[in-house]
Amino acid sequence: MNRRILIATLLAAGFLLAGAGLVTAGSATASLGHPAPDFNLRDTNGNEVKLSEYKGKIVVLEWINPDCPFVQRHYNNETMKKLADKYRDQDVVWLAVNSTHYMDAANNKQWAERFKLPYPILDDKTGTVGETYGAKTTPHLFIVDRMGKLVYDGAIDDDPRGQSQSPLSYVDSALQQLVKGAEVEVTETRPYGCSVKYKK
């Protein structure tokens, strides 16, 4: 085989993968207690964001879809923004990920500006990272500890219908434990919300 063509093909393949949100960790899918798969996605300004850049910090990954009524409720109530603010000075990084197949950076930017979000929304419209993490719902939350290990997978809180006066925030509890250097007690809950609208 012509060597130049081979290299060109490999480069093209690499380019395509990068464009599709390249997942680079050894393990194919995310699983609790194991290293969280690395990814490389772009924020609303076109900047690359890699999970591995945040080693040593606690990272919250929040699956988002501005069209989903559960997401809309939490954003109108500022659930995520308040939590991100609460832990921002304690080495906690918040990253929202949008795997909705019909949305792009422009949609994300509009949402981020509307709610003056202090964290980026990453574009995963190909669904690659969402499927690697097994993100099922919007919202669906994952927490990665300082060692890069996945330590929480589930719902934001215990109130799917939004009717509780004082919902119990699983993510808040987990972050409280993590910043104290403790183990996360409730590591897995049932996420609720709209299904992630992956491409068909």
Partner: protein, 312 residues
């Protein structure tokens, strides 16, 4: 006065019938109108002490669906709260066998499309003053999804006179949907053409229910819809078909429950079998989680309560 009320009621019923025949006007563009909810009773009148059925008929625009009591990987179960006159009691909601839909990303949902009736048995008090019309209401909320999801709510009402109960025009709708209820099977009992048993297996902190189903005639497909409760998180793991035998594996774990004194161990799973001729049957299997699972010290729930107590 009585006649006038009766006339009003007749007009109301006629209007409902007309609506049912014509079908609600649904515009495909109008997401909010994708689902309509109508309140129906299987009786023309409320008779003291005589149980009747009260239900909400949901009609969905093409490709839209609403959710079963366990919505699956995503979604939200449909909720109905009946608002009844004083002294009336309502049994738990009856849920016809759902369908399963698999969305991109391997996201499994359980629910209904097209049309579904969800209802409850209602029992009026043993005595009721006659010559009155009683208001019945359902407070209904649902999540409906197609390419996107929309929250819906409605509070349909119905007024029925007190009197001798006769089957209403809607009674046939109830009969039709009762035929879609799964047949209830207690542990160790066999149903129409089927018998089953189960055992529990523990793998580390994980509990698995292995349900062994034997059919008189081998089905070509078997689906399982596990229910979730406030206490237990139940996931369908696998179904294996082997001629007249089917094996269904369910993963069962404690939810991070709120109240440790209210840990109910009972749950159920609905299984639906289809045969080559195209006929189908559904069964509701009642299961009880083992005491070891319910008191497991490694469970989420108990660790969780410890933390709450520390805070207080």
């Amino acid at each position: 006065m009585f006649k006038w009320r009766k006339l009003q009621l007749m007009l109301l019923l006629t209007a409902i019938q007309a609506m049912m025949m014509a079908g609600p006007a649904i515009s495909a563009d109008d997401d909010a109108a994708a689902v309509t909810a109508t309140l129906l009773a299987d009786t023309t009148a409320i008779q003291a002490g005589t149980t009747f059925r009260l239900g909400v008929l949901f009609r969905m625009a093409p490709e839209w669906h609403i959710y079963w009591l366990n919505p699956g990987d995503a979604g939200l179960s449909t909720a109905i709260e009946f608002v009844l006159p004083e002294g009336f009691t309502a049994e738990p909601l009856r849920w016809p066998t759902p369908i399963r839909f698999v969305q991109p990303g391997d996201i499994t949902g359980y629910g209904y499309d097209g049309e579904v009736l969800l209802w409850a048995d209602i029992t009026p008090p043993p005595t009721l003053p006659t010559d009155q019309t009683l208001p019945l209401k359902a407070e209904v909320s649902w999540l409906s999804c197609k390419d996107k999801c929309v929250m819906g709510q409605a509070a349909p009402t119905l007024a029925l006179p007190v009197g001798e109960a006769r089957p209403s025009a809607a009674a046939a709708t109830f009969t039709r949907w009762m035929g879609r209820l799964p047949e209830r099977l207690a542990p160790g009992t066999s149903g129409d053409g089927v018998s089953w048993q189960m055992r529990w297996r523990q793998e580390g902190a994980e509990w698995r229910a292995e349900v062994d189903v034997r059919w008189d005639m081998a089905p070509v497909a078997v689906e399982c819809y596990p229910a979730v409760t406030d206490t237990l998180l139940v996931r369908h793991r696998a179904t294996t078909l082997d001629g007249p035998r089917s094996r269904i594996d369910l993963d069962v774990a404690l939810q991070p429950a709120v109240d440790p004194t209210d840990l109910a161990a009972d749950f159920f799973a609905v299984i639906r079998a289809r045969w080559a001729a195209g006929d189908e049957k559904a069964f509701q299997l009642f299961l009880t989680a083992p005491p070891e699972l319910m008191t497991s010290s490694s469970s989420h729930a108990f660790l969780h309560f410890t933390i709450l107590e520390e805070k207080q």
